[in-house]
Amino acid sequence: MSGEPSIAATLPDEVLRIEGVGKRYGNFDALKDVSFGIRRGSIHGLLGENGAGKSTLVGIISGQKTATSGHVRFNGEPIDAKDVRTMEEAGVFLVTQEPMIIDHMSAAENLMLGIWPAKRGFVRWRKLRADSAQMLAGTGIDPTQRAGSLDAVARRKLNILRAMFSGGKVIILDEPTAALTVDDRNQLFDFMRRLKAEGVTFIFISHYNDEILDICDSVSVLRDGALAGGSEDVGAMTSEQLSELVLGRGLKLFQRHQHDLGATPVAITLSNIRSAKVDLDRLDIHKGEILGFTGLPGAGAKELVRCLFGLIPTQGGSIDFHAGDGGEALPTSPGEAFKRGIAFLSDDRRRDGAVTQMAIGRNISLSSLDKVSRWGFVDRAAEAALSARYFAAMGIKAAGPEATVDSLSGGNQQKVCLGRVMATAPRLLILDEPTRGIDVGVKQDVLQIIDDLTAQGVCVIIVSTDTDELVRSADRVCVFGGGRLRRELRGTEINAEALRSIMGEA
């Protein structure tokens, strides 16, 4: 499938050509002799593991970084070593993962950020409103709305529109679907297709094969800084072929073996949990089960697990570990939850993942300090042993537990966080989107680690909107809607189509 010869040759109507581009940092090659072309008005997928060089390459294309060797041609003209401003004037825009939006300004003002129509220094508000209303027509975004109140998909659309409004002809989207639900994602894809029909070219970075297969016309795959392959006809490729190109080996996708729920006893019972957005009557969790929670945002899945961990106050509810005490009230703080064997890992790694300036080892022990301390003093030997154990168990790629977390890639940071919650030796492990934003290889590692944990009888709840992940890992999936448990799927009932349709109904 390595379509390198076809992609290296010049394509008809090329808008962008990458010509032997290389980037060197010290004695490390982040990019090595990468060449490919992109046709005008196409959506070109850029795939690769974390660290494969995707961000470096789009950084070079958008003018944020300078190539050490090679050229980037835009409409046939070499445009090397220009800054971001020059590239934007030429029409190349990078839309990053974090939408660059000023929350307290209106959608219209954000749309024209920095290019407000002005006359002698005064903003021409009427023109601004008229122009932006025209741009936003059909997107469902009210120009006068405060940007802070827009949802994730609207914010991303706003960023793309801003790039277009500024004369964008090639728009680079760096993981635009992270944190979006299936519905939002489809909406975004429709929006991209509409713009594509108007002649806009997209470079689309994603970790998800199904997204690439869904929306891209052509694809290039980077591996270890070099072009591993590509295709001008994505429609003819399969998910396995893409994964193989990304990883460079026959990737074995994780698949949990059947776990007979009928044969294992119930280990945890949740009952009568009520809060502002949660209304759960009863839920039994079996010993060693991986239970999937899914639903649209606000449906109650994310809220319920935060109630269990003491992050959201509840009006009532109990959790029974079947220890003969008939159950207890829910914990009221994360600290209490950890003490009672309930561990939780949030989906927002940037905000509340690791303390990135601290060492990996100290992050791992952070939730278990009471176990490695006496009279308030940290027992350094015990702490080092605990950290080393989970550092090894998680397979974290770093110089050692003394390295700080901010030197790690996203996937490895996630492993550090996972190590931290697992080091508390929980009875119930709750993971909110545990593999979001990490590449396909690390994702298999993480799912395998979770799988191994259940073999020791730990119950795991995975909150996820990634249907593929649920299909591969969950023994049972609970679909939430309106704060309630709407449906339960087991075994072969769990498949991508069923999940998507039920999520929409629930």
Partner: protein, 333 residues
């Protein structure tokens, strides 16, 4: 995502310039101490008196009060907050203690202890305000500073308290072996004590975690608000001890006691590498910052810089230290 995170493992590839330059790295990492030695040599060349034992003793005493304040100030900074009321707290609490002691005829140690207790209570109150009431620490402690300064003026009616008693001022005046003051020992003990707390205890670990990322710390089961309250309380306690030492050393409490220390008390930890964004810094750095500032102050006086220029030149020296430090942060993150 930059190249260093790209490589996954912490490979030597460093995109932030060639950090492989060992001597330069070493210089930049220890810039406060090198600058300190350089200034000592410089002042010594200008005036031999700078190297005398008497001057060393003087510097040690001068550094003690600023040092205690610097240690107090670094605590809120480490949890990514600030406490501007620390120097005002120092003046106010010692005055209350002394006035109570004198008016009720209490023994010196009750007067000193009362002052420290009041300072601790004020620190605790500040902690409550910024956590439970969600007040912004910059403004809350600014208002507390103004309140305490005003209260001190109101209590003293602008007069200076000088009747402190021999026992009360003993610690600030006592010396052994031909003039070595004992007051700096309090500072040394505090450095060691606070150093152990920060480096070895669960509380210290929580301080760094909360300062580094409060949201993540909360999710990790750390009681963020409790940690901040404890931190402010400890800072208040240290301010109280500093207040006792200052009064004892000066043998007086003026109606604006402590006010002149504010900016230096903030500058010392920051010069010593304590991040204003929280989570970074240690007591040795604070010590470096305190000594640097003290040497500048004393040195400029000794080499007879006309007093009109002392402020300007001193400020310039601090500026250089901070600029070099910014360079270090820029190169080594």
């Amino acid at each position: 995502m930059n190249a260093s995170t790209n490589t996954g493992a912490a490979k030597p590839a460093n995109p932030k310039g060639d950090a492989g330059n060992k001597p330069l790295t070493w210089v930049l990492q220890n810039v406060v101490w090198i600058w300190l030695v350089a200034l000592v040599v410089l002042f010594g060349l200008f005036n031999q008196f700078f190297f005398t034992v008497f001057n060393m003793q003087n510097i040690m005493v001068q550094a003690t009060v600023l040092g205690m304040l610097g240690l107090a100030m670094c605590l809120p900074l480490l949890v990514a907050e600030i406490d501007l009321s620390i120097p005002a707290n120092m003046g106010f609490s010692s005055a209350v203690g002394v006035i109570a002691m004198n008016s009720m005829g209490l023994p010196w140690w009750i007067g000193a202890g009362l002052g420290v207790a009041i300072a601790t209570a004020i620190g605790f109150f500040n902690g409550l305000c910024i956590t439970r009431l969600r007040m912004v620490s910059l403004i809350q402690t600014l208002s507390m500073m103004i309140i305490l300064q005003g209260a001190l003026l109101a209590m003293t009616h602008g007069r200076t308290l000088t009747e402190l008693g021999d026992a009360y001022v003993w610690i600030g005046q006592a010396a052994v072996w031909g003039g070595w003051p004992i007051m700096p020992l309090v500072f040394v003990a505090t450095i060691i004590g606070l150093g152990v707390v920060l480096a070895r205890t669960v509380f210290g670990r929580c301080i760094y975690a909360v300062g580094g990322n409060p949201v993540a710390s909360n999710s990790a089961g750390i009681r963020v608000e409790a940690t901040k309250i404890k931190t402010y309380t400890l800072a208040g306690f240290l301010a109280g001890v500093a207040g006792f030492l200052l009064a004892s050393w000066q043998m007086a409490i003026t109606s604006n006691q402590g006010e002149s220390f504010l900016l230096y008390a903030i500058a010392a930890p920051i010069i010593g590498g304590v991040s204003v964004f929280g989570g970074r810094g240690n007591v040795i750095g604070v010590l470096g910052g305190v000594l640097l500032l003290t040497v500048i102050q004393v040195g400029l006086a000794i080499i007879s810089v006309p007093s009109f220029y002392v402020g300007m030149i001193g400020g310039l020296m601090i500026f250089i230290a901070v600029a070099i430090d910014a360079l270090r942060v820029r190169m080594f993150g």
